[in-house]
């Protein structure tokens, strides 16, 4: 009897630890995006090196968490909601790692844009705005994961459409700049890449929210379009 409760508590601790690790990784990734966007908006490119450096930590987290999930599966053979949690975590971690990569790309893009000289076109505020929305999506998706709140997760999924629309609007705007003055093309393309990364972050945040719904309700709502 004693043995049993001890085992299940250990199992609980394993799962809690796993979740906390995922969220810690999420926090790091969030900070990375913020730093990258700040670098773009303020032109302070000295932080770019730190961001690239920190991406190794993100990757390290991915490996550690994958390792832990394998251990949990091998040792505890989780079933039902525990199994969904473990499987969901492996997917969330993949998305987080990709977001980390996008943050790195934004940081490098910011360095290119600012090294190129004066940032005369697209007011940094527009990019900042769409980036803020993507960051909020990620933050909410992670909050949903911490609370296993599938209602809020559905809201996050819907928010992605807005980021997509804004991304398209920004690209259209950049195209007009490029047509007016071909000298802006190099910078404009770099900015397009940054926006693209931001848009991808929104997509990954949406994926995370979908995994949360799966973990909480056992419903797979990926690729189901409007139903979600």
């Amino acid at each position: 009897m004693n043995e049993n409760t001890h085992l299940s508590k250990q199992f609980d601790d394993d799962l809690t630890g796993l979740r906390t690790h995922v969220l810690e990784m999420g926090g790091l990734v969030e900070a990375q995006i913020r730093a990258a966007i700040d670098a773009y908006a303020t032109g302070d490119t000295t932080v770019v090196k730190d961001i690239v450096e920190n991406d190794h930590r993100v990757n390290g987290f991915e490996k550690i968490i994958d390792d832990e999930t394998i251990h949990v599966v091998a040792k505890r053979q989780p079933t039902a909601s525990d199994l969904r949690l473990v499987m969901g975590i492996t997917k969330i971690v993949t998305d987080l790692e990709r977001i980390g990569d996008e943050a790195k790309k934004i940081a490098k893009g910011a360095r290119r844009v600012h090294e190129h000289g004066q940032l005369t076109l697209p007011r940094a505020t527009d990019v900042r705005h769409i980036a803020d929305e993507a960051v909020v999506m990620l933050r909410q998706a992670l909050d949903c994961f911490a609370r296993l709140d599938s209602v809020k997760a559905t809201e996050v999924i819907h928010a992605d459409a807005k980021v997509d629309v804004e991304f398209k609007a920004l690209v259209r705007q950049l195209i007009t700049y490029m047509m007016e003055d071909p000298r802006t093309i190099t910078t404009a393309i770099d900015i397009v890449w940054i926006c693209r990364s931001v848009e991808r972050i929104g997509d990954h945040a949406k994926n995370i929210a979908e995994h949360v719904v799966y973990i909480a309700e056992g419903r797979d709502i990926r690729h189901t379009g409007k139903e979600a």
């Binding site: 809690t16 926090g27 790091l28 969030e30 909020v136 933050r139 992670l142 909050d143």
Partner: protein, 429 residues
């Protein structure tokens, strides 16, 4: 053995006596059956009381405690008393707990209590707002799951809480929080969160101010020393030399003006507020300011003066410098040919002073910061027109010492209006 129990036993024995008498006189069988019948009756009474007790324990309320005779009465009344006392004690404890929780809610700072594993055990509403928590859903969550900033997680992990942690809120509202961790009762920890956005901003303003003063003074100083060197080391013809001396004089005038303005500001800040006694005659004051403005404009602008009667109570020198600053700003920022209207109007028992121009105007984003020291909406233009960057700061201070506030409305390209309303206590008929 307790008294009621002895009594009960004694009663049973006493009933045994007539049974024994019957047994001896009639027959042992009848005696025994009578004794058994008496015991059975007693047992039935016991069982009845027991079943009442059993029923009551399912939902023990002091009002419904059963009543019984003999030994049961004692038990029931003791249970009744115990239940009642328990309820009073619980109510008192609930009240105390609520008081403590209410005190926690009343705190200006955010408070989160953490258990040994850094899980949230309680937090107040301020903390909910600051950290984006929701106590209903987040109780017993590890706090690191919701406050995920790497800096915070490191801070918790290292366990060195001698210095507070400065954390910028991730909730996208640009707030700066200062976190303290205080251990209490063994493994539990209290997280105290202060919103230091305001003091952070003040610090920033102070740093900016020092940097600005140094910069503002260094620029003319550099020019001055540069020209000094030139004049000393080069053979110059008298015309050039004269020109250089003029430029040097100009820079030294500028420096002394900055120092004068700084001194004026610090006097305004430290001096006691002006008494309401001194009557400032507005008509001569405004006419003098009007003449000064025309002299400064040298005929480039049309400057008109609209005056109601009515004087002010206050410090004449401060008011003169505030009004003069506003008027000279209008002259300097209005292109030649522009119109400037200086107005002194009664509004019921209060009165308004205003300067309206149709000059270059001010972008809306600059307006809230205009009265900051050395704040310049357009750096180049402001220096070239001879401003020290302190004028509006002086105006704001001087006016606020007269309970008046500077109001600025402006449209870029169309002009600006600087106005201030004096309260009835400052206005004399």
């Amino acid at each position: 053995m307790s008294k009621p129990l002895i009594q009960t036993l004694a009663l049973s024995l006493a009933l045994g006596v007539p049974a024994a008498v019957l047994g001896i006189l009639v027959s042992p069988v009848i005696g025994l059956s009578v004794f058994c019948a008496v015991l059975a009756l007693q047992l039935i009474g016991f069982l009845r009381n027991f079943s009442r007790l059993e029923a009551w324990t399912r939902n023990p309320l002091p009002e419904t405690t059963p009543e019984g005779g003999g030994i049961w009465d004692e038990v029931f009344s003791r249970l009744h008393r115990h239940e009642k006392e328990l309820r009073v004690a619980i109510a008192r404890r609930d009240f105390d707990l609520q008081q403590v929780a209410a005190a926690g809610q009343a705190m200006v700072d955010g408070i989160v209590t953490l258990d040994a594993d850094s899980r949230i055990s309680w937090c107040n509403r301020v903390a909910e707002q600051q950290l984006g928590l929701d106590l209903r859903s987040d109780r017993f969550q590890p706090i690191a799951n919701l406050v995920r900033q790497p800096a915070f997680i490191n801070y918790l992990a290292t366990g060195d809480f001698s210095k507070p942690l400065r954390l910028s809120s991730m909730r996208g509202d640009e707030r700066v929080l200062s976190l303290f961790v205080l251990p209490y009762s063994g493994q539990e920890r209290l997280l105290q969160i202060q919103d230091v956005t305001q003091s952070e901003r003040l610090d920033q303003t102070r740093r900016d101010f020092v940097a600005n003063v140094s910069h503002e003074l260094r620029t003319p100083l550099t020019i001055l020393s540069g020209f000094l060197e030139t004049v000393r080391e080069l053979e110059l013809d008298p015309v050039d030399q004269e020109h250089y001396f003029d430029l040097m004089a100009e820079q030294s005038v500028r420096m002394s003006r900055i120092v004068q303005d700084l001194l004026a500001l610090s006097t305004l800040e430290s001096a006691p507020p002006p008494s309401g006694g001194e009557r400032v005659h507005m008509t001569p004051l405004l006419e003098k300011l009007h003449r000064d403005a025309q002299a400064l404009s040298a005929g480039r602008h049309s400057i008109s003066l609209e005056m109601d009667t009515g004087d002010l109570f206050g410090a004449e020198s401060e008011l003169a410098s505030a009004f003069g600053n506003l008027i000279s700003n209008a002259v300097r920022y209005t292109p030649p040919g522009g119109e400037i209207v200086i107005a002194w109007k009664r509004q019921g028992s209060s009165a308004e002073f205003s300067v309206t121009d149709n000059g270059i105007g001010i972008d809306a984003k600059h307006i809230p910061r205009l009265t900051e020291r050395f704040y310049r909406a357009d750096t180049g233009r402001s220096r070239e027109t001879g401003g020290t960057g302190l004028g509006l700061a002086i105006v704001k201070h001087a006016l606020s010492r007269h309970q008046a506030r500077l109001e600025i409305t402006s449209t870029p390209g169309e002009g600006s209006r600087f106005s201030t309303v004096f309260p009835p206590t400052r206005v004399a008929a």
